[in-house]
Subunit: 186 residues, 2 copies
């Protein structure tokens, strides 16, 4: 316990079944991250925070020790913020190219990537948020990352998330910002 | 109990907070329908049946008497079936016109409307399904119905769901077909 208390990174288990998200957490925190892959049902909502709060409740019931849950969304300006947290389903159905094609066909390629992290120990909750604005582009570019990374070019960058090597992505990504925000609020 | 057993329409409470869905059930069944408006969280999935099964479980826990839950989706061919059961969120964000504009911008206005009904008495389950194929059109037309009715023109009709008077809509609608299917399987 003494060793644990001396760690800079607080002790928690990251609840995710997504290897890409786990890899990014390890890279961003610069420390090993304990993780558990459980398939948590997620409620339907466009409110990222509501989805995450419900997920944290369910995760706490199942895991019963300090944990962090994560939720990310991509808000298309062309669809007034849709699909947001539901983007994973749009990806499943239409792929990253389908996502970008939709925005471009609607003549507005602007998008906002948002990541929320929520720590809970059953008592205290701490949230971290990261937001990155950018543009959806075609064709998909780059071999890094996952999900819609190959079609999202963050503002101020020439390259897509898929073309940015890990630390370069973390510096500007919604997930990098969310982890740094969470750690700052610890 | 004897009177109840003699009823043609089986006894159940329809769990819905949507007045449009309740009105259609009453019209299609041609009988009063007991209803209860509880806000059931819905799980994220493109699988209508999975969403509905989870909803039935939760409804049974809360209501504890024979009930019917309903779930409908609109599958855009242009997005390989997305948003399906998640269409309500796309409607919330972009409206019926935004939905149709997306399909038209992607140069494929074909869509499939699907409705699933699930009866449960805590023991037996009976499901009914109705499917209606059609085309998304702009501008929105008609004052009837609700949701995306004004932009959906079912195959074989010149008019949108929004232009069809109640019984005319029920004859061809996914929801009309689902109720008739459920009653046939009773």
């Amino acid at each position: 316990m003494a060793d644990r208390d001396r760690q800079v990174t607080p002790s928690f288990v990251l609840v995710t079944g997504n290897p890409g998200k786990l890899a990014e957490a390890v890279r961003i925190l610069g420390a090993p991250v304990d993780s558990i892959a459980i398939d948590l049902p997620e409620i339907q909502s466009l409110d990222l925070r509501a989805v995450l709060e419900a997920k944290a409740d369910e995760a706490w019931r199942r895991v019963g020790r300090p944990l962090v849950v994560e939720e990310a969304g991509l808000e298309l300006a062309a669809l007034n913020g849709f699909p947001g947290p539901l983007v994973k389903w749009m990806l499943d159905a239409a792929g990253p190219a389908g996502l970008a094609r939709t925005a471009l066909a609607l003549a507005n390629p602007r998008a906002t990537a948002r990541c929320l992290l929520l720590y809970t120990d059953g008592d205290r909750r701490v949230a971290g948020e990261g937001v990155t604005t950018g543009t959806l582009v075609l064709p998909p570019r780059g071999e890094h990352g996952f999900g819609w990374d190959p079609v999202f070019r963050p503002d101020g960058e020439e390259r897509t998330f898929g073309e940015l090597e890990g630390p370069a992505k973390d510096a500007v990504s919604h997930r990098g910002r969310a982890w740094r925000d969470l750690m700052a609020r610890w």
